[in-house]
Symmetry: C2
Subunit: 353 residues, 2 copies
């Protein structure tokens, strides 16, 4: 087929380093009988070159098995065609949906996503932002609105669009697609009180870097104060431990030890709540008669339990797609009218409360 010899016309300079001698755009250009510039244009916008020039280039690409080098492209154009995404953990399926939404929108537009996870460790967000900055992403997506001062400064200094999410603030770094965890928990408390529950407890794993959990707790406390002024709210939290169903069972036991009269347990997450709800049968606890249970997130399991788990549903995937749309518009040079977007939440009342 193609004469392999033709592919390597580059001068055998003594300073050459690339041991791989990979196919470059120059090889394609030569094979197609055009300049590299024309190849470059053809690849980026096929309509910008003549139809048979295009055909020859496409054929040359196939023959030479050319694969564009984005690093060179990035360096020359100052656009990396990447977006950096920072999430607390990949293992939480709920953030995974957000990331799927993000990439589902960005990938077709030619952007690739770098993913980093902090495992809720406060310092790791800053070091991730720092190391991601070296790749010069064209945009940042971050879960959370609370960062170290230095992180915020780093993000602003990059000069690229930034979307924060899954939380709420009046002073976002740049753009925001989120909701109020505080308001969500208040609605949970309102619901419980409306149903006649009076001795509410809040429980969960509260990792130091998990500001969303803190906002939920604050929402619980504030609503509790509104309904029961002066009454100290029952709060049982641990600062470490895996976010698994078994931990929910442990927390339920802790709550009942420390506050035996509790008639409703508000969990910080569906994972914990589901574990507790499943364990209730074995512990002789009737839900919701003896005890009401609520969760957060509307995980898959919430609707499958008996009774169903009353919880807060978040448009997780939509947070990702909306964020991607905002980033896209800005990365493509446009501007956005609304830099903050509230996706809200929904209280799903099921049998457990």
């Amino acid at each position: 087929m193609s004469d392999e010899g033709q592919l390597s016309l580059r001068k055998a300079d003594s300073r050459r380093r690339s041991a791989t001698r990979a196919v470059t755009m120059a090889d394609v250009a030569q094979a197609a009988g055009v300049s590299t510039q024309t190849v470059s244009r053809a690849l980026r916008d096929p309509r910008s070159v003549g139809p048979d020039t295009l055909a020859r280039i496409e054929e040359a690409v196939r023959e030479t098995r050319y694969v564009q080098n984005f690093a060179a492209s990035h360096l020359a154009s100052n656009r990396s065609m990447t977006v950096a995404a920072i999430i607390p953990t990949i293992s939480a399926s709920i953030f995974a949906e957000t990331i799927q939404g993000l990439t589902d929108v960005l990938l077709p537009e030619g952007y690739q996503v770098f993913l980093g996870h902090t495992d809720y460790m406060a310092g790791r967000e800053e070091s991730l932002v720092r190391s991601f900055s070296g790749r010069r992403p064209d945009g940042f997506f971050i879960i959370g609105t609370r960062h170290t001062q230095e992180t915020t400064a780093l993000l602003k200094r990059t000069g690229v669009p930034v979307v924060e999410s899954w939380s709420w603030t009046n002073r976002p770094v740049d753009m925001l697609v989120g909701f109020s965890n505080h308001a969500a928990l208040m609605s949970v408390v309102d619901h419980l009180v409306g149903r006649g529950y009076r001795r509410l407890a809040f429980t969960g794993v509260m990792k130091p870097g998990d500001h969303r959990a803190k906002e939920r707790l604050k929402g619980f406390q504030d609503a509790h104060e509104r309904h029961f002024p002066g009454v100290t709210p029952r709060v049982v939290t641990v600062t470490s431990g895996p976010m698994v169903m078994a931990t929910g069972v442990e927390l339920l036991k802790l709550v009942r030890e420390q506050h035996p009269d509790t008639d409703a347990v508000v969990f910080v997450s569906d994972v914990l709540a589901s574990g507790a709800l499943l364990a209730c049968a074995g512990m002789g606890i009737s839900v919701p008669k003896d005890l009401a249970i609520t969760g957060f997130g509307n995980y898959d399991i919430a609707g499958q339990l008996t009774p169903g788990l009353t919880t807060i549903a978040i448009a997780s995937r939509r947070i990702g797609t909306e964020s991607a749309n905002l980033l896209l518009r800005r990365m493509q040079g446009g501007d956005v009218e609304n830099r903050t977007q509230d996706v809200g939440f929904e209280l799903l009342v099921r049998g457990s409360a």
Copy 2:
């Protein structure tokens, strides 16, 4: 503090393009009173320069707020310090653990991970490999061992180490960290038959691109044939639909419609099995007396159900860490003795079967 004017000594050539006028290594070099070479060396290996030269450079980096440009580094060194990872879906927490393991090992070594998901669509793997190749990753990690011919060719042509995983083959593209889905399902069948079950059914969502599901089905069929020669195994599958617990309930109903005498249902995944198991109570089915149920994956929920779900446990996180170690050794120029690694599986017998 620092004289901002000093930072921009680059010639104001009419052809200049970088509108950002970002801080470069040359700025750092000037601020520190050394050459860019020395800065470059200091950043890559701090011990390769003199102690007070190093101190001056570190101070200059801080002052100038320099952030290294990896694209330039990549282009010059021909190493991108990235690894491309391709998984079926992020939303399955079980693959997420593998990715966490992978990044937990690679990140401290300076490698960043590009993540792509195929959503079990056959063609998307090839296009992902193709587009990822443009970033010139220093290694590939892929879930699965079945690819299109072109995908395999592309992977081999990159010349970088490749790890396939979560499956088994005798002819890996390069390296392999996996286990036999086929053998795992055979052990499930053996167990069921040993417990006296005789009318086994296999069910699950079988997306066209999900070869691991196919291997599991094949394992079921082969074991079934060994135990019940000539008897057609009960197989009820759907080729689309979400991998959620509710789907498991639907499949359970389908199985009982099509094969009312079934006494054991083997699910392709814990997600489906859990949904079914939870629904059994409401359907008046006693598990494991009337019906045995098994899953695959040992998800968090498996051990929380009553009865517990009998399933296959996979060292999901370890697949990630082991793969990362293999890649690292090869990316750092070393060689590995065992290019294939069987992490095995474990049959966890709980109450459901």
